[in-house]
Each structure stands twice: as C-alpha cells, then as structure tokens.
C-alpha cells in the first residue's frame, strides 16, 4: 500500500488501477452477478427462507448434474441419449425445412406474379401456431418420430420461406442494373447477384427459425417419449424431481447456445463480406 506522503507512486498506482478497471471484460460483470445470485440462493435455502424442494439450491443442482451425467434419468436412459435424441430431431426438422424453403423462397421471390398469388397462403400458414397443430398431427400421423420432426419442420419452414422471399425482393435494384450493364445473362444475374445478395437475410431467417425449432422440440418431446431433453424435464416432474428439471433446462440452454454459435460461425465463414451481423436482423 503506497503512503500518501509519497505522491508520485500513488498517482501511478491510481492510474494503473484505472487502467485495469477499464480492461475488465463485460462478461466478468455478468459472471459476478450470476455468482452472487447463486450464493444468495444457496444461503436462502440454508436458512430455510425458501423451500429447498421447490427451489433446489445450486449445490444440489451440481450433484444432480453429476448424477445425470453418470447414471441418467429416468433409470436406464443416459443423458447422452437425451442429447442425441433432441439434437437429431432438431437437425432433421430444421434441415428439411431449410432445404425445402430456401430454393422455393428464392424461386417465389424472383417470380412476382407467383409471389402475389401465394402471399396470403404463406401469411396464414405462418400465423398458424405450430403447437396448435400438435393434436392434429397426432391424429394424422400418430405419436411418433415423424410427428415430432414434422412439427419442427413446419414451424421452421414458413419462417425460412418468408425470409428467403423477402431477401430476394430486397436485393437492391442497383446491383441488378450493374450486372445487366456488365452483360450478365438472367441466369448469371440470379446465381451471382440475387443469390449472394439475399444470403444475409436468409441467414437472419435461419436464426429466427432455430429459436422456433427449440420452442417446438420441447412441446413435442413432452408427449409419448422418454427420450429427449423435453421428455427429461417432464418426466422429472412426474417424479417430483425439480432438481432434475432444472438441470434438464441447463442442458437445453447448452444445446441452444452451441447451435446458435455454430450458425453464427457458419455465417461468418460463408458471408465474410457482411460487416455487422446484427444489421441484417432489422
């Protein structure tokens, strides 16, 4: 500790402190709050201010976390089975939707008359709440994998389709003019101008659709299966294991985070020219 009589080093010390303060990254603040909240929670349960059964404390969650990784829940269904089941369903439904919706959207968007003819259908189909289709899909296809993947695909399809159509229509006329005056044919303009020009918005749609996939997966895993993270948290409820439900939610957050990051990474690789990824979201 520098003494106050010694003015110069003290000022240097303050300066250093200021400088270090400036370099604290934002996430450190966030982490601090999280740790404080977890500690408060633990403390409150310890002193019986809140019910340990309805609010299992972090220490309990940590033990459950470990137990789930080791033994799984319910007995015999390992955690990686849950992870794999959920991930597969999402990837299947999501990629089917993307593979169908992107080419179709590009085509519809580039054909104005067709676009006008199908616009009301798309608007309505998009408004239909995917989860309200659950009972219908069960009546049609039964309670099976197909129903689950179908609903995920349905929810994502319309979002991606709309974004692809808007993307094509939103490509600046300037670029088309420029390409025309450079002698590009219609086909060349489509492949080299419309397609790359619409990718940023298509990616924005893909991002929203991923969120939709996560909303739907939980609902469809709540019925007729014991495999998958949605099933895990619902099953835990049936056994009054709030701790397992909470750890299940942490698992879901982890998958969601990883998939969103993967998509952002893909976008940076595939669209190196886009400055601000957020810009496109508007």
């Amino acid at each position: 500790m520098p003494s106050s009589s010694d003015a110069t080093p003290r000022r240097a010390w303050i300066r250093r402190l200021r400088r270090t303060r400036l370099t604290i990254p934002d996430w450190a603040y966030g982490l601090l709050t999280v740790l404080v909240l977890l500690w408060l929670w633990e403390y409150a349960v310890d002193h019986a201010w809140i019910n340990a059964y309805r609010f299992p404390p972090p220490s309990k969650l940590a033990r459950t976390f470990e137990a789930l990784l080791e033994r799984g829940f319910p007995r015999g269904v390992t955690t990686d089975t849950h992870f794999k089941a959920t991930l597969w369903r999402i990837l299947k439904g999501y990629s089917v939707a993307a593979v169908c919706a992107i080419p179709l959207g590009l085509f519809v968007g580039a054909t104005p008359l067709l676009e006008r003819a199908v616009a009301p259908i798309i608007t309505f189909a998009r408004s239909v709440a995917t989860l309200s289709l659950l009972p219908l899909a069960v009546a049609w296809f039964g309670v099976g994998e197909f129903t689950r993947v179908f609903l995920i695909a349905y929810g994502c399809f319309w979002i991606i389709l709309t974004s692809a159509i808007n993307a094509v229509q939103g490509v600046s006329k300037q670029y088309v003019f420029a390409a025309q005056s450079l002698g590009a044919s219609r086909r060349q303009i489509f492949m080299q101008v419309m397609l790359p020009g619409s990718l940023p918005r298509i990616f924005a749609g893909l991002r929203v659709a991923l969120g939709m996939a996560f909303l739907v997966i939980i609902a469809v895993e709540m019925i007729g299966t014991i495999e998958g993270l949605g099933a895990l948290i619902m099953e835990a409820r049936n056994f009054y294991r709030t701790d397992v439900t909470m750890v299940g939610m942490i698992f879901i957050a982890i998958i969601g985070f990883v998939l969103a990051r993967t998509l952002a990474w893909l976008e940076r690789i595939l669209l190196p020219w886009v400055t601000d990824l957020e810009e496109v979201q508007r």
Binding site: W27, T33, P120, S127, V128, S132, L215, I218, A219, T242
Partner: protein, 256 residues
Amino acid sequence: MKQQRAFQRNLLVSWSGVIVVLVLWQLANTLRLVNPSVFPGPLQILDTALNRFPAADVLDHARISVQRVLFGFLIGGGLGMVTGILAGWYRLFGKLIWGPIEILRPVPPLAWIPIALMWFGLGEQSKVFIISLGAFFPVVTNTYKGMISVDPMLFRAAQSIGLRGPRLLAKIAVPAALPDIAVGIRVGWSLSFGSLVAAEVLAANRGLGYMIMYGREVGEVEVIVYGILLIGLLNLITDYLIFNLLFRRQLRWYFG
C-alpha cells in the same frame, strides 16, 4: 377506370392461390381420395364452424385466450422494456444484469412448464408466467440492443441544445431505440401467442387451445382444424393490429 380494373386484377391474383388450394382440398375429399373423418374438407369445417358451436361460445373462448396472452404479454413485455431501457441507460447495471439474462435466454418458454407447474400449480398463474417469459426475452434483448446502439451524435446534438438527464433519456434515447423495441415487441407477441397455445393445450377448461383439446378428446378432427384456423386467424389479426396500426403509424419515419 383503368386503375379500377388493375385493382380488380390484383385482387384476383392475390386470392387465386387460396382458391386453388381450397378447391383441391375439397376435391380430394369429395372424390374420397382421403378419409374425410381424418382429413376433413373445407365444407365440412365450414359446417362445423356454422352449426357445431354457437358464435357466442367461440367468441368467449377467443376472449379468454386473448385476455391471457395480453395479460402475460403486458407483464413480460413491460418488464422486458423497463429492464432493457434501464440496462441501456445505466451501463454498469446493464453489464451486471446481462449475465443471468444471457444464461436464461436460450431456454424456450415451454421448458419452464414443469417449473411453472411446481411453483404456481395448475391454475391461471402458470399460464401467465409461461406467456410472459415468451415476451420478456425478445423485448429485453431488442430494447437493450437498441439503447446501446443509439448514434452518439444524437446525444451530442441534444446536449448541445441543453437536454440533460431524464429528458435526454425520454426525448432522445428511447425514441431512437424505438424501432428495435418494436421488433422485440413483435417477436415477443408471436412467442407469447405460441406459448399460450401450448399452455392451453396442456391444461385449461376454456380458451381456444382447450377447444382443440376438446376436439381431440371427442375424436372430431374437424373441430381440431376449426380451432387451429381460429387461433391462426386471431394471431394474424392481432399481429396486423400491433404492427400496422400501432408501429407503422408511430414509426413512419423508420418503416416508411
């Protein structure tokens, strides 16, 4: 004259797709290409709509559903907006609070259902909680993003004509962030709506979600389809009201 004809032609094109779909769907039923009790046709559904349920009952279910969404949305969206604005204005608060928000954000609202049932039981509170979660996260993230990306030049300009403190917040920061807030509200509304259906399908004795479950229990697919169409229509109308009437008018400078 010429314009009117062009308008009529536009209208025809716009609806041609819908008409083609409806006709094909009905034909598939009439010609028994599909089983009408599993895949009911438009006429069958129209019949259900007109004769099976009294309009007053349907309106009542719709009213209950709208009330639920609105209530949950106002709580979640309101909290999200206030949190987002404060987090954007008081940067230290923002940095502190962003940790927990970022951790909870990837958890979809429906994953909270077991917890909500545990905390609030099977009643109305659980539903409102789930719905408000649907609105909270999109609104809070978009508001915060809007607040921190306000062009600093705007602040300098406002300060140079003497605006300070809360007036700077109310007159410059919030209006400048409004387009982002609007996006958050729109996404939040659709997520609230989606969560409502799940909440009602899971447990309710009134509301449009309940109508669908009723159809499932009595095994009448046309009732399910009717309920789905009603929910879709309600979503469409409310989204239109929010976006076009509220935002387009208030934010004309942004949306054009």
